[in-house]
Symmetry: D2
Subunit: 326 residues, 4 copies
């Protein structure tokens, strides 16, 4: 199927991706990774729970970690424009026959909890506690000096359908890979906030979370993190990179947290805010779409993902991802 | 006056600032500056006219230079969401009693030409020719490797009024300086596209254009440009910087083109996309608002600006900008 | 064998490595690679010959390319302190029973041509034409912006013997890898000029040249080169990197020229000038000696090298290099 | 006078500058500055004394701070090649009629304490305690991430004489400023270790120490330090920079410690190891010698220096330094 045209009049107004809640086995290990190594800032801590933000964020948290005894992705969070848009969101999910409920969580206003058609747990909200700005408290910068959460990347067993569903919600495609043989979309990058993506989907057993990404300004942030991880016992948590993707132009690094949740640190994307911004199409057989330069991705990068709590996975009907060295 | 609340339901939907048209005296000198030194890419050239874009832009141009024999700012351009929004824009300016007309220009669709209440020439459009992506043609990168136009900064003789007018249009304030003595807003930074600003206003004889800014990813781009300018005959075109502003957190450099038009090259701003993003207030007496660190700005930086074609300037009723070294 | 103690009173005073002469098949292809892509500066060009220097060098050339129709390393060049030291060098090589002759080459003074005991062609000189400084001609900087030649890395079939021979000449070991099982030195890095190395030796079929290295100040130089090579037809010339070696702390990139000569671009080494600077010992089984972080080296990196003109190679008695991922 | 030719056969072999001992008023304030802000590493601490090293140094210290109740420079330290060279040094200073004595200090072997003809306290040694390498302990990197001490810059009331004296000791001139009117050398940069300088002399009331410099690899280290200082109460300790000197090509920052001792952080110098490396001559009237680009230096930078313990200062016979903006 061709990539659908951008929906410029979506049913409700999503501002951006906002936060992820991970289930983890050992919150002290998670803290050592996210706080002491990556440099995210603690905004709240209590027994078994840790809330974190990046350096330029004013919302209360972009990651919350819950020591549930198992590695899972509990929910992906998105901020909408207003309470009114939240009501529209509920109506739209209800109209799709998808489960909706209003829930309460600390540090946040009214929350719409729902799932996409494949079971990915989603939550939408308009208000989260706002914190004072810390982006000029340079003494606090540490680790990779993460500036903000940037996107979620998910395995989907039917990328065409995922793109259609999220496209209807107003996510606009910036780049995509087409499998010329089947005419199917193999992977797509879709945004709300004017960068390359808030969400992306790749063909594979799904739904699963491939990674959550954080934005940094320069490749040197990433090289500093590599030096730090390689000399503090985290060398085996480095999975792939550094390298540059053809798609998105990202200078990237993929690392695994102590529970196997994959985190991408990246820079060098670009502004996509124009409503007539044309998606870039890549051929599945072009190795530079994956790796403009850099070592080929390891097998684990194509195969491993985090499970969403309460969602059953399904194999994709398409053949396995071709692993091609550039 | 307190800073007005963000207008989250503006009369028409401006996407972002888009382009500036400069009148210049010697287009060959301008080309040497903008193309050979800054590294902007030529998208069209004809006798007396030059159109340029930055590396990640797909719109046809962000600067057009017209050899008119005098140094002037002919118009500031803004992109709106759709043709429908363009019609709404016309209605809104008409309703304000401001002059409007539909004009034609090469490389662009329908253009609404108007002026703000102080005479600043503005144009709005929905469609401009789209060009193929060059952000991965690394062989073309040159000079400061500019990625995109970022904002316009203007002198206003009544910043409170400017902020109210542009605020009503939907520009949201991210940071501002208050003169505690008079209770007046001294300067304000306002955005549409989710960064610190698309437009900014500073107290002074106005309206005049203080500068047009381009975004680069790292301070090293700026240092490379300084080395290049200092050794190719442009050392006296370096006016201020490098340094960091407290306001906006920008790592900045200000340079003057051969006609005296001021260009800022900057990096290190932050994302402001949340509708409830709170403006940061600075006190006029805090020297770090201007210069978090760096040499004090020279007198010319406070006083010199480019004239808008067809607009008469007026002195501000407020006292002169206090020049305080940090 | 243990690593020999530094010889602080060498038989003659070598200042530093200086230049390499490569035989190439197509000098136009070599020029596109070394000049247009790497950014080395042409100092002399004539039919079939090209002489190049890096940005901060004042000696006439650090590489000369000769279109001989075959890929070869014709000679490795070293600068000595004075003409008197050159005479001492001749006496020392003569005393070893190694072939010596005085030869003439353009752009250089008196040259002592000789070979090491394994046949590596070496030349020593005190005077080479000096050129005007270009390190502040920033308009000339291009490609990876190489600042200076840094070192030669060679395969040796008997690293213990190579270290002993070059050690006697005054090269001081900064780091080395020991094969704990055999007690043999597997690889060694040796310097004259106060960095990690002017020459290095690694176990393997030898003598062959593994690579010639150029120094750049930051990892961003290397990333710029990768972006350029990946988008100008040189993606398959990228062999390994970027990554960081444990040994030498080098942030590295290995690329292959059109004739298969391997070039390293690197930064982040350190000063070793103290006569009592202690060598760092690494265990052959420690994967971080090779790769502090980064993808494992490809097979070609362990196996491929350039042949020295007129030298016969011999297999090492030690087992093949163990390829261990970190 | 013309700059003297390099003395390639000096009376004793100085390896490099090594360390400085500062008298300070409040060692806790000094520690906050040097350790918590600059990022130097503590190697020994006792009541009233603090010993520090930079990240790639293996010698015990490059700075020692003594809480003496007054701001002073107690001694400048240099490492020589061997104990034998130390004896030669004593003979040479004795021969000059300068005071010499063997002293003992913790963490060091035999020390020759002496003064230059203008009273600058100097000490020479061959052995200092060697510490384990920490350059790959990336968790320790902090502040400006200083890699090594680089040079001393001194005011001299007779630069010609200083250059002659230090030149006889084997320091080789890399760059110098000539006052065309008087034919006198205004300032000179002289090295032993193969960089632009170990010592430099500038015309002015002397002897006084203008600054001690530390080397970092990139301008971003310096920008990080500026951000940190500007937001942790040290904004008024920033005296000059960032900018680039024409002389030495240094990208520089000058800061003042709590006692007014000036520290330079710099990068971008170049290798000067060749014995026939030609000095670069600058004209006193060329403003780019001082400032290739950047704001003009403040008056304090030309006038303020630290006093050497036990040395009387004398005004220079030459006119005051002309302060010219570029």
């Amino acid at each position: 199927m061709p990539i659908p045209a951008a929906n410029l009049n979506p049913p409700f107004n999503i501002v951006r991706l906002s936060h992820v809640e991970y289930g983890v086995k050992d919150i002290a290990a998670s803290k050592a990774f996210y706080v002491d190594t990556l440099g995210l800032q603690v905004t709240h801590e209590e027994k078994g729970r840790l809330y974190l933000r990046a350096m330029e964020e004013r919302g209360h948290h972009c990651i919350s970690l819950h020591e549930t005894g198992e590695s899972s992705v509990n929910v992906l969070g998105f901020k909408v424009w207003s309470e009114e848009e939240l009501d529209k969101a509920k109506a739209w999910f209800d109209g799709k026959g998808l489960p909706t409920e209003w829930i309460e969580k600390p540090f946040m206003g009214r929350i719409l909890r729902t799932r996409d058609p494949w079971g990915i747990p989603l939550e939408f909200y308009a208000k989260m506690d706002r914190l004072e700005s810390i982006h000029q408290k340079y003494k606090l910068y540490n680790g990779v000096k993460p500036l903000r959460i940037d996107h979620f990347n998910m395995f989907s067993a039917d990328v065409d359908a995922s793109v259609e569903f999220y496209g209807e919600m107003g996510f606009r495609t910036t780049e995509y890979t087409e499998d010329a043989e089947s005419g199917r979309v193999w992977a797509a990058w879709m945004h709300r906030k004017g960068g390359v993506h808030d969400v992306a989907f790749t063909n594979g057993t799904g739904p699963r979370l491939h990674h959550t990404a954080f934005w940094v300004p320069t490749p040197l942030n990433i090289i500093d993190l590599l030096d730090l991880m390689a000399t503090t016992g985290y060398v085996s948590n480095i999975e792939r990179g550094p390298g540059r993707h053809g798609i998105s132009n990202a200078f990237f690094l993929y690392i695994l947290d102590p529970d196997g949740h994959r985190i991408e640190i990246y820079c060098s994307d670009y502004q996509t805010i124009d409503p007539d911004h044309e998606p870039i199409k890549w051929d599945l057989k072009d190795p530079q779409r994956q790796t403009l330069w850099g070592a080929p991705a390891p097998k684990s990068w194509f195969e491993h993902g985090s499970l969403f709590a309460g969602a059953e996975t399904k194999e994709s009907g398409l053949k396995a991802q071709p692993i091609i060295a550039p």
